[in-house]
């Protein structure tokens, strides 16, 4: 877990430090904001992990970890297949084409997208 926190901490420190240097060298707002947001991205995640998971000792971080250590730890279910992702993808793609070729495509894509979203949620619940 320390490596994960350090990884995001590096993103955070790099964004803020370079962003600050860049601002005082150039006073150019676009690049400064982008770098600061990079720092914020790292701050949010490393901060969350630091507060919530700092003292967590996971079997995968244990250099002597065995498979018995991880037995019984739920890692979620893995879907055996689902038709909704491809329908949702088609919905998004069609909907975006609607901005170019006419609003009817936007409606068709939107309907497909909403249908797929509902399908995905029901699948997760079931």
């Amino acid at each position: 877990m320390r490596t994960s926190i350090g990884y995001w901490g590096y993103v955070c420190v790099f964004g803020f430090v370079v962003g600050a240097i860049y601002w005082f060298l150039t006073y150019e707002p676009a690049g400064t904001l982008l770098l600061i947001f990079m720092g914020l991205c790292g701050l949010v995640i490393s901060g969350y992990l630091f507060v919530r998971a700092r003292s967590l000792s996971l079997p995968e971080d244990d250099r002597e970890g065995t498979f018995e250590d991880a037995a019984g730890v739920p890692i979620g279910r893995f879907s055996a297949g689902s038709v909704w992702p491809v329908l949702m993808g088609l919905g998004i793609a069609l909907g975006l084409q609607g901005f170019i070729f006419g609003r009817w495509l936007l409606v068709a894509g939107g309907v497909l997208f909403v249908w797929a979203t509902i399908g995905l949620m029901q699948e997760s619940r079931g």
Partner: protein, 557 residues
């Protein structure tokens, strides 16, 4: 969600339609990874065809094959295809396939999100390529789509809009895949697989993911703003209403330069996984390699405006220094590779040959990159063929060669079949010769001042280099045909490869080829960064796995 898995016997007797439906509705990371890889290779063939057309046009100074407009469309879509639809996504494809296997996970963290990503990527690619059929033709503004040329006046017609939507779709797909890969690496490692024992390919995919996460949203924002300018009376990039065209360049290159590393870092990882196997040695300087990758990732976020030196509106000194600095961690990687091969027991199978070709070509690309990073020199090189040659040495000589190294290395694992070594080696040598014949002369035409993105050139000093280059492009086309023959032959002859044809080091080589539905029937204990090697040699010292040259024990976990 249905948890049922059909037994293998039932699978084999299903009809073709049912199997097609299986692929379309798949959420398995291996099938999705293969979809990424095969789709990217199809896009690669399309982009290569455009390149051959352009080289044929440039064989003579005058315009004689395509119109100027068609030429502009060709180089735009060639660049877009190779960058957005081939090199970056095929890296995500290998990541999708290999990361769960290398860390001992049953699947990716979010399987259905993964499926959505691959479909968005494929649909985005289809959108971009089908724009050739649009009423004013495809986008013709270069892969950078600079405003105001890409605005409503400069680029009328739906081709440009389809380019924007295609890029938007592929960038959404990339962001989702990056999130997925990071969650997988952080949350689904097998017990004992600490971060500092992961394969270097997995490490580099993790670092690539953070680059995607930081760099792609600005791109999505930039092209969306472009679309708003074109259709909804926006003025983001319109100076006559207080907008700024330079803002587009900032946003685009804040994506564009990290994108170069999105296209290169996974292949650094591939090469670093392959070279130790064919040197019969552990990697030299594991931790140094990881830290160098992190340094490259950081620096790559702070060099974007070296593409904008000649605008005169950026701090040339800052971006020049940062760009020079990238050479340091990249040099460390060369030390890793050479140190690994040093006194190793080298064998030269096809993947290893491609790795060596990668090192040679990428070095040329890297050194010319340092030349271009010098702002005063860049005023001379900007928009000449020198830049074109440089970036093709980085992405063609570098990434492309490593892609084929990865393909030849992991094809037996992914399909269970063996590729023909002799055809593979022939493919390597034809490509290596053809590649250098194509792109080395472009350095010369560039230094002589030839402008990029122009279909004609004055006869005289540019003619010979261009003819050599065109010849080289045809040689490369022959190489690609050899490659296709090699792949088709492997699927027809179906010579079984065995689970571990190379004597691999990382975890994917302990499972079957191809791996079962959830990757592993069993796992060996993981006690170093070479679990498969340790398991093969377990009798030599029980409980004392070969910890030669592994990462730093003090900073683990």
């Amino acid at each position: 969600m249905s948890e049922t898995t059909l037994p293998a016997a039932v699978h084999e007797h299903r009809t073709r339609a049912a199997r097609l439906l299986d692929v379309i509705t798949t959420t398995n990371h291996k099938t999705i990874g293969l979809l990424y890889i095969w789709a990217s290779l199809v896009f690669f063939l399309a982009g290569g065809l455009m390149a051959e057309l352009m080289r044929t046009e440039l064989a003579t100074p005058a315009l004689n094959l395509v119109s100027r407009q068609t030429y502009n469309e060709l180089f735009t879509i060639h660049g877009t295809t190779m960058i957005f639809l081939f090199i970056a996504p095929i890296g995500l494809g290998f990541g999708n396939y290999l990361v769960p296997l290398q860390i001992g996970a049953p699947d990716m963290a979010f399987p259905r999100l993964n499926a959505l990503s691959v479909w968005l990527f494929i649909l985005g690619g289809v959108t971009i390529l089908s724009s050739f059929g649009a009423s004013h033709g495809a986008a013709a503004v270069g892969w950078t789509a600079y405003a105001p040329l890409s605005g409503a006046t400069g680029s009328p017609g739906p081709g440009m809009d389809m380019w924007i939507m295609g890029v938007l779709l592929t960038s959404i797909a990339s962001i989702m895949t990056a999130v997925n890969l990071m969650a997988t690496v952080f949350m689904l490692r097998a017990p004992g697989m600490t971060m500092w024992r992961m394969s270097l390919f997995t490490w580099n995919i993790l670092i690539t993911s953070i680059l995607i996460l930081v760099a792609f949203p600005p791109l999505a924002a930039a092209v969306s703003m472009l679309f708003i300018d074109r259709h909804f009376q926006g003025h983001f990039f319109d100076p006559s209403h207080g907008g700024s065209v330079i803002l587009y360049q900032h946003l685009f290159w804040f994506f564009g330069h990290p994108e170069v590393y999105v296209m290169v870092l996974p292949w650094f990882g591939v090469v670093t996984d392959i070279i130790p196997v064919f040197s019969r040695k552990p990697i030299f300087g594991y931790a140094g390699f990881v830290l160098a990758s992190l340094a490259i990732a950081g620096l790559s976020m702070s060099v974007w405006a070296h593409h904008m030196f000649t605008t005169g509106l950026v701090d040339n000194a800052f971006f020049s220094i940062m760009s020079f600095l990238i050479a340091v961690p990249t040099g460390i990687k060369f030390f890793n590779w050479i140190g690994t091969m040093w006194r190793g027991k080298l064998t030269f199978e096809t993947p290893m040959l491609f790795c060596l070709g990668f090192m040679a070509n990428f070095l040329i690309g890297g050194i010319t990159g340092v030349m271009l990073a010098s702002a005063p020199a860049d005023y001379d090189f900007q928009d000449t063929y020198f830049v074109v040659a440089h970036m093709h040495y980085v992405l063609g000589g570098g990434s492309l060669f490593a892609i084929f190294a990865a393909f030849f290395f992991w094809f037996p694992k992914m399909t269970g079949f063996r590729l023909n070594e002799r055809l593979g080696k022939a493919f390597f040598w034809i490509t290596e010769i053809g590649f250098n014949l194509t792109f080395w002369p472009l350095f010369i035409s560039g230094l002589r001042g030839m402008q990029r993105r122009v279909a004609e050139y004055p006869p005289g000093i540019y003619t010979t280099p261009n003819q050599l280059s065109t010849l080289g492009a045809y040689v490369m086309a022959v190489g690609v045909i050899v490659f296709l023959v090699c792949v088709v032959q492997a699927f027809r002859k179906k010579i079984p490869a065995g689970d571990d044809p190379w004597g691999g080091y990382t975890l994917e080589w302990v499972t079957t080829s191809p791996p079962p539905e959830h990757n592993f029937e069993w796992l060996p204990p993981i006690r170093s960064e070479r679990p498969a090697f340790d398991w093969r040699h377990r009798e030599t010292g029980p409980g004392t796995p070969a910890e030669v040259g592994v990462g730093p024990p003090v900073v683990s976990t």
